[in-house]
């Protein structure tokens, strides 16, 4: 599950840097703006959305995580948000995040027999809620897949810099 295991495979050919960056920025904007339908459409069927605790995270099947969503649970999370009664996000947070240090890290074999692109990026986001203003920051690892000429998100792992400390409620899509 570690990024290191996947960097054994070199960066696959055919991923345009500009297109990848545009995809990551779009994903960030959709999450910031709570555009749940468009955000959900970015994911592949074998999606994994993971926010570990205590550093890079141990075996997520045996250890607690802040979020460890497969495609099905992503759908449930979004359905709950869409009810408008997910109080942790109703009213929604006001959000903006920056992505930086975008690096093509390598490749990751996918179930189609092809290779996903693994990309790393740093992020810094600001969340405004009645509780106050909060900075969220960390490192995100993405796996992107080509699907019918478009990019899709197969994997997103968000390692918060302070995931070894008490975190406030994280109701939005990080």
């Amino acid at each position: 599950m570690t990024a290191a295991a996947h960097t054994q495979i070199p960066v696959p050919d055919g991923f345009d840097r500009h297109a990848v960056e545009q995809f990551l920025y779009r994903e960030a904007r959709l999450a910031d703006e709570g555009d749940y339908d468009a955000w959900e459409a970015l994911w592949t069927d074998d999606a994994l959305y993971w926010v570990p605790i205590d550093g890079a995270g141990d075996d997520p099947q045996q250890q607690m995580s802040v979020i460890y969503d497969n495609r099905n649970r992503i759908a449930t999370r979004l359905k709950q948000l869409r009810t408008g009664k997910r109080y942790a996000q109703a009213p929604p947070s006001n959000l903006r995040r920056l992505l930086s240090n975008i690096e093509f890290l390598g490749g990751s074999a996918n179930p189609d027999g092809d290779v996903d692109l693994e990309v790393g990026a740093n992020f810094l986001g600001i969340e405004s809620r009645p509780r106050g203003i909060r900075l969220w920051g960390g490192r995100t690892t993405y796996r992107l897949r080509r699907h019918d000429g478009e990019l899709r998100l197969a994997y997103k792992k968000v390692v918060l810099v302070d995931n070894d400390k008490p975190l406030p409620t994280l109701g939005f899509l990080i």
Partner: protein, 415 residues
């Protein structure tokens, strides 16, 4: 000859409690002295320090405590403060070490707290000093759950647990090996609310349909029905401030093994077989009735498959630590328990993030000057006493809260 009316007599009534109990920093300071640094408080679990030399940093009230297991297997709760200048001697969250060496001047303590050395002894004219790490004077565990009390004497842990001990027992019985482990790590959820709002909410059966309606609705969860107006579940005041939502009457109605876990026996055949081998004739009942939903005063909450440790930070802030129950000998269940628990609890949990939003709005609401009181009368009109002498209310009644406040008042009125 006028009777002395204590401050807490004025603030805590049978059917209402005063808002200042949640907002007054002086009351919070008194709680630290009279509850957190006196009563038995849940700290952690023996499985977190399974081997000699293992340690784990914990909180007990505002105290930074190192839970250790020494070479003889004995548990200790050490205060993270060098006896020399007060520096912290341990900076790691957990690990294995026979000794802790203060980085400031190199004083070294064994993992039972004894000072075993300090550099340049000639400056003290002796090789031994009568100093040690601070210790929580009483440490005890029940079925692996470790508690500490800063009072050198007082009720034993078993006396404190009273009726809640049987509920911990009920959890442990779900393991085919009779053992629970808390080894999945703890989520840490910072909460801008007074700790008592959490303790009261844990067995409040009135809120789930409203606060959690969003997730019950989209998943078709049957949990909501357990806390409906016509549920046969009961809320029980277990004494000493402990309380439970006893859901067994609802599960008995269906009489389906593993329904309590949201599954069927055909999906966890190995577990069910191991439980039948272990418990014989009792197995059916255990598999139907499931785990406890119990709040152990002041800070341990066991909700079927997850365990919470609540620790205060300030009058308007606390931390909820949460982890999945792991049952020894139940590999089939353990990963599901982690998965369900991760989905439900912690900062992004589909249940607990909404509870926490309520706690925080509740704290903000309490800044309003009127009405001054919070109402806790729900169910007073229909309470009964059960065969064990415990007061029992309906599934959605505030019986547990009233029990909490009775214990709170008695501790706070003590000198």
């Amino acid at each position: 000859m006028t009777a002395v009316v204590s401050q807490y007599d004025r603030l805590i009534k049978r059917d209402k409690v005063h808002g200042s109990l949640y907002t007054d920093p002086a009351i919070f300071a008194e709680e630290l002295r009279k509850i957190w640094y006196r009563s038995w408080v849940f700290v952690g679990h023996e499985s977190e320090v399974a081997q000699p030399g293992d340690y784990a940093r914990k909180r007990l009230g505002l105290q930074d405590v190192i839970m250790t297991r020494d070479r003889d297997g004995q548990l200790h709760l050490l205060l993270n403060r060098c006896a020399h200048r007060g520096n912290q001697v341990c900076s790691e969250a957990k690990g294995n070490a026979s000794a802790f060496r203060c980085p400031y001047h190199g004083w070294t303590y064994r993992n039972d707290g004894e000072l075993v050395g300090f550099p340049f002894f000639k400056g003290y004219g002796q090789r031994k000093l009568d100093l040690a790490l601070g210790r929580v004077p009483r440490v005890d565990s029940y079925r692996g759950f470790v508690f500490g009390s800063f009072a050198s004497d007082g009720p034993t842990l078993l006396e404190h647990l009273g009726g809640a001990a049987g509920e911990i027992e009920r959890l442990v019985r779900l393991s085919p090996e009779g053992r629970v482990e808390l080894t999945a790590g703890w989520l840490q959820h910072r909460t801008e609310a007074n700790w008592k709002l959490l303790a009261e909410n844990e067995t409040d059966g009135y809120h789930p349909q409203f606060v959690h309606g969003s997730i019950f609705g989209v998943t078709g969860s049957p949990i909501g029905a357990l806390y409906s107006d016509n549920s046969t579940a009961v809320t029980r005041d277990l004494g000493n401030g402990h309380s439970e939502n006893d859901l067994r009457p609802e599960f008995r109605k269906f009489a389906e093994p593993m329904r309590w876990f949201g599954t069927t026996e055909s999906r966890v055949p190995g577990y069910v077989a191991a439980m039948r081998a272990k418990h014989g004739a009792d197995a059916e009942r255990i598999l139907i009735e499931g785990g406890p939903h119990v709040m152990v005063f002041p800070n341990l909450f066991i909700a079927e498959i997850q365990v919470f440790n609540i620790q205060p930070v300030a009058v308007d802030q606390c931390v909820q630590y949460s982890t999945a129950v792991q049952l020894a000998g139940a590999a089939e269940l353990n990963r599901r328990m982690v998965s369900q628990c991760v989905g439900s609890v912690g900062p992004a949990g589909m249940l607990l993030a909404d509870d926490t939003e309520m706690y925080e709005r509740n704290q903000a609401g309490l800044e309003s000057l009127t009405p001054e009181w919070l109402d806790v009368r729900r169910g007073l009109n229909r309470e009964a006493v059960d065969e064990n002498g415990y007061t029992v209310g309906g599934a959605t009644d505030e019986t547990g809260m009233r029990g909490f406040w009775r214990q709170y008042k008695s501790l706070m009125e003590a000198p």
